[in-house]
């Protein structure tokens, strides 16, 4: 059976689970109950969603076992599209339209398959096994001192972020629908970047993750360098160096763990259940290497500069990907690997991480208030959002970590919405600085409405995804670091309020003559803005169903943390 047919078969099998959806409702607080730890039993021996060694199959109603390729399809559909468009000409408008269509089709296919898997996971709830979530596990490199696996899983943490990634990329392709210059290069690089991000999110083998993570470097560099605004040379170089250094630190840290674990495997599940403990010195060194690697892409002080610069300089679509997806990928890596692999070291470093979170939050406020352009302001708001995630890492428990993951999703969606709106506003006002904007609401009321909604989403207004996330973060971290929690929360609120104030500066006040002919949102813009709005509301309203699914991905981490206390 061809891989495409198998993918369809897997998707159909996932769809069959839909009737269970109604029975899957569980209250929010039940989901955030700390994971059970068995007295006297080492936490590493508890069942783990990533430790299943058997290859995944999709059992059909006929009893035929087929290997699931759904996750591979999600990851590599965009690569296939990139390879196709490389060979397509782009001389005429029709040819360029064909290239855009192929890119959009691949992105939508990935999004739909991800949504199907998420629906399946929600319907199965906490009982979902890796097999049911289309885990793929095959040995890739066996004849070496350690075995490397082609191991893709989609537990709750991954799925939420995968939805974020595929949705944001789809929105960016839609936003680029009218692009006429160098369409092939733009779409090809974005597709490769999507492969890298989705692959990193699904990979549970350390080497595989590192490969996908490092794959971001070249497409991102070229996207900033080729399609950015003034100052793109420096911004692109900074981004490339930061990501290269990050990748190298990550690989070194991972190798230290693999070599010292004695597991002879680079699979996360095998490393977590390795019988031989990693020497403390090696584990501490590896923790700081991995922490620094992800910290470089995390928008925290002092490594935030390249991200703020890149977000401000890159084209609107690329900036959306950076702030909406790439920054969140680093957050995911921090939770999955820095915390998951080194729970004891992470807890020892808790105070230092907390100080870093407080500093980042404070600096985020200063930066947000001091910015003169919209993009920089939005990028600075991300610092506050990510300092909340960092605070959860400083005080890790099931509640705070579930909140952190939900915050990554909510923050990613709101940042993406804000940056796409920035692009729309810049297109209408020719990138005028903040102090020269005003009165746009008269001509573009819908645009103003979207902007205010996005600001509220970033603030964490009730009924939106950010609200549940911040509530859980507050509940989870307050008991451990009460003052820091209050400070970071307050700082984030101030920073976002400054963003909300920007709505008044941009949209209200007297109509300026130069913007008198500004038009409101077009149908094309609505096509990529509405889905982001819908998902922000959906994640907010359905938090009670989503959080249990996220919790399935945090079981192992929570169990390890329980064991180190």
């Amino acid at each position: 059976m061809s891989p495409a047919l198998e993918a369809l078969w897997s998707a159909a099998s996932a769809a069959q689970q839909a009737p269970r959806l109604a029975a899957a409702f569980q209250p929010l607080l039940a989901a955030v109950t700390p994971a059970p730890t068995v007295p006297g039993v080492p936490p590493a021996t508890l069942p783990s969603p990533t430790a299943t060694p058997t290859p995944a199959t999709t059992t059909t109603s006929s009893g035929l076992d087929l290997p699931s390729v759904l996750l591979s399809t999600v990851v590599f559909a965009t690569t296939v599209a990139a390879l196709i468009i490389v060979f397509l000409p782009e001389r005429t408008a029709e040819q360029r339209s064909r290239i855009r269509s192929i890119a959009l089709f691949a992105a939508i296919a990935s999004l739909l398959l991800t949504l199907l898997t998420l629906a399946s996971a929600i319907s199965l709830g906490v009982q979902a096994t890796p097999d049911q979530l289309h885990e793929e596990n095959a040995s890739w490199i066996t004849q070496f001192s350690f075995v490397v696996h082609y191991h893709l899983t989609a537990d709750g943490v991954t799925l939420g972020l995968l939805v974020l990634s595929t949705l944001v990329f789809t929105s960016v392709f839609l936003a680029a629908w009218k692009r006429q210059q160098r369409v092939r290069l733009y779409c090809g690089l974005l597709l490769l970047l999507e492969t890298a991000v989705n692959g990193a999110l699904c990979a549970t083998d350390l080497v595989l993750f590192a490969m996908f993570f490092a794959m971001q470097v070249v497409p991102l560099y070229l996207l900033i360098r080729c399609f950015g605004g003034p100052g793109r040379e420096r911004a692109a170089l900074r981004a490339a160096v930061a990501l290269l250094v990050s990748s190298v630190l990550l690989i070194t840290g991972f190798l230290l763990v693999i070599v010292h674990s004695g597991a002879h495997s680079s699979d996360l599940g095998a490393l977590l259940t390795a019988s031989k403990p990693i020497p403390d010195a090696a584990a501490t060194a590896a923790f700081w290497l991995v922490f620094t690697a992800f910290g470089l892409g995390f928008v925290i002080v002092p490594t935030h500069i390249w991200i703020v610069t890149a977000t401000a300089t890159a084209s609107s679509g690329v900036a959306t990907v950076i702030a909406g997806v790439l920054v969140r990928l680093s957050g995911y890596g921090m939770i999955r690997f820095a915390l998951g692999l080194f729970p004891a070291q992470a807890q020892r470093a808790g105070s230092a991480v907390m100080v870093l979170a407080v500093l980042s939050a404070a600096w985020g406020v200063v930066l947000t208030i001091g910015q003169r352009t919209l993009r920089r302001m939005v990028a600075a708001v991300s610092i506050g959002q990510m300092s909340l995630v960092l605070l959860a890492i400083a005080a890790p428990n099931t509640i705070s970590l579930s909140g952190a993951v939900l915050q990554l999703i909510a923050g990613g969606l709101s940042s993406a919405l804000l940056l796409l709106l920035c692009g729309a506003i810049e297109g209408r006002t020719r990138s005028a600085p903040l102090d020269r904007l005003g009165g746009l609401a008269a001509q573009a009321p819908r645009l103003g409405g979207f902007w205010i909604f996005a600001c509220l989403a970033a603030l964490g207004a009730p009924l939106l995804a950010g609200f549940s996330a911040e509530l859980m973060l507050f509940t989870g971290t307050f008991a451990v670091h009460p003052y820091a929690t209050v400070f970071v929360m307050a700082s984030t609120a101030v920073a976002t309020a400054a963003l909300l104030w920007s709505a008044q500066r941009i949209f209200l006040g007297p109509v300026r003559e130069e913007f008198a002919r500004v038009r409101d949102t077009s149908a094309l813009e609505l096509s990529y803005l509405w889905p982001l709005v819908a998902f922000l509301i959906a994640f907010g309203l359905l938090a009670g169903r989503v959080v249990p699914v996220i919790g399935t991905g945090l079981t192992q981490i929570a169990a390890s943390l329980g064991g180190t206390r």
Partner: protein, 499 residues
């Protein structure tokens, strides 16, 4: 099995095939000087196929005993094992890619086609012979043959005065390398009383005398330095840079790739197997030189002003990684040593393919009239998209960026080095990787971002076969990564034989 007359013939068969091919080409060129170049090309491909088939026969012959050793002749002086077979197949791959990629050069100078193909095969035969040698006298003879044939290959191109200078430098450096290695071997002979490397490996000389002391140490160091010259690693790496910068793409690619493959394989054979695993005498020297090569190559690549300089600098860094793998194989014990040798053999495949691809593709742009400077390459991504894309792939592979096989090779080397306790060298390797990555990004930026708006140009001056060979070599970086598992298994088989 111990070789009798027939066994020795089987052991030497790949080299005999290639040597025979060289002889036929030389005779045809002498008797019928106006023969079409395509005939030489076909003869070379035929000889390569025969050598490959002979290697497979050797592999089948050594299957029953499972030790990876197929033939031991001349009291251990000639050793045909899986390591040798792996090296032979690698040499055949480089030869085929070069012969196909050199079509443009052969069309330009048809009169030299016979000599060119003969020298390609002769140097390949010497390389294949060398990888099976553990006897000092035979090693010296094959080493000399390799150096001389590579020098002649460079010298015969005569495309410019710079090529002649490169050949002259290669003669001088090759001579120094040969002399250094021979002097080192002489000292080792003095220490052991035998020309058999296996005596050195067990640490017992003729008459039961223990092999130790300064004589053996200096001898080892000299042999290592002699072999490093062939790899293109410090301290005598300048010749490799000149050859890569000045000779036609096919010749530069062949010389660099064959040098890297043969030199690294010989180092592994002589140093790891001969000087003994766990030795700190030579491993410290090789690790230090590896660090210098990795870091030096990365730093130089940052400022490379021409595409050839960039490739030369990246290949210097690549040589450093190869040396780190050799040192890891030598420092470690048991599985760690095998991991180092496995990493070396896998990296050799990707390094050879990457070097040949990059230099062939640079040659295609040369032939299209593009000067090698950075400014000329601005906008090439739009003007010649396919060739530029493959060149990008080759450069990224040489820099060791994911998802290409160069990255997997570096990962394996870093894992082996950490296992062997060379953490500081892994740190330097990490820095070198970043530097090489930034250097390649600088060129990609010129190719894709700095579009000057000039009209597209045709790369049709290079025949289709030549372009296909270059593209295939570049695409190998991706394919080798996708099929890394089976390839590492093969490399592991070769590595097991080494110990």
């Amino acid at each position: 099995m111990n070789g009798g007359g027939l066994g020795i013939l089987v052991g030497l068969l790949p080299a005999v095939m290639l040597g025979g091919g060289a002889l036929v080409c030389a005779v045809v060129a002498a008797v019928r000087p106006r023969t079409r170049p395509s005939l030489y090309r076909w003869l070379t491909l035929l000889a390569t196929a025969a050598a490959f088939a002979a290697s497979m026969i050797e592999l089948v012959a050594m299957r029953p005993n499972r030790t990876g050793v197929g033939l031991v002749a001349y009291g251990g002086g000639l050793l045909v094992d899986r390591f040798h077979v792996f090296g032979t197949v690698l040499v055949c791959m480089v030869l085929v890619l070069t012969v196909l990629g050199a079509e443009a050069y052969l069309r330009r100078v048809p009169a030299r086609a016979g000599a060119f193909c003969a020298l390609l095969q002769l140097s390949s035969a010497a390389a294949v012979m060398l990888m099976a040698q553990r006897e000092m006298a035979a090693f010296t003879a094959a080493f000399a043959l390799l150096v001389v044939s590579l020098v002649l290959l460079t010298a015969m191109t005569k495309t410019s005065g710079l090529t002649a200078e490169a050949a002259f430098r290669q003669v001088l450096t090759g001579g120094v390398a040969l002399a250094t290695a021979v002097y080192g071997l002489a000292l080792l002979y003095g220490a052991t009383g035998s020309t058999d490397l296996s005596r050195l490996a067990v640490g017992v000389g003729v008459g039961g005398k223990a092999v130790d002391g300064p004589l053996a140490a200096v001898g080892m160091a000299l042999v290592v330095i002699g072999l490093l010259v062939i790899v293109g690693a410090p301290p005598l790496q300048a010749w490799a840079r000149h050859v890569q910068e000045t000779t036609p793409g096919a010749i530069a690619g062949f010389g660099s790739a064959l040098g890297a493959v043969t030199g690294a394989a010989l180092l592994a054979r002589w140093a790891v197997e001969g000087f003994g695993a766990g030795s700190s005498r030579w491993t410290l020297l090789v690790t230090a030189l590896a660090a210098i090569a990795m870091l030096g190559g990365g730093i130089l690549a940052l400022r490379a002003g021409t595409i050839r300089k960039l490739i030369a600098d990246l290949s210097l860094a690549q040589a450093g990684f190869l040396l780190l793998a050799v040192a890891s194989a030598g420092r470690g014990a048991g599985s760690t040593a095998t991991a180092g040798a496995t990493a070396l053999l896998f990296t050799l495949i990707s390094a050879a393919a990457g070097l040949v691809a990059a230099l062939l593709l640079a040659g295609i742009f040369d032939a299209a009239g593009l000067s090698p400077g950075l400014d000329s390459y601005r906008g090439v991504g739009r003007r010649a998209p396919a060739t530029a894309a493959f060149l990008s792939l080759a450069l990224l592979g040489l820099a060791g960026l994911p998802p290409l096989s160069g990255f997997i090779g570096r990962l394996l080397i870093a894992g082996a080095a950490l296992g062997a306790g060379a953490g500081w060298a892994v740190g330097i390797a990490a820095v070198a990787m970043v530097l090489a990555g930034v250097a390649v990004l600088r060129w990609l930026m010129a190719m894709y971002a700095d579009d000057t708006g000039e009209a597209p140009f045709a790369v049709g001056s290079t025949p289709l076969a030549g372009r296909l060979a270059a593209w295939t070599a570049a695409a190998l970086g991706l394919l080798l990564a996708a099929f890394a598992g089976p390839l590492i298994a093969l490399a592991g088989g070769g590595a097991t034989a080494l110990h």
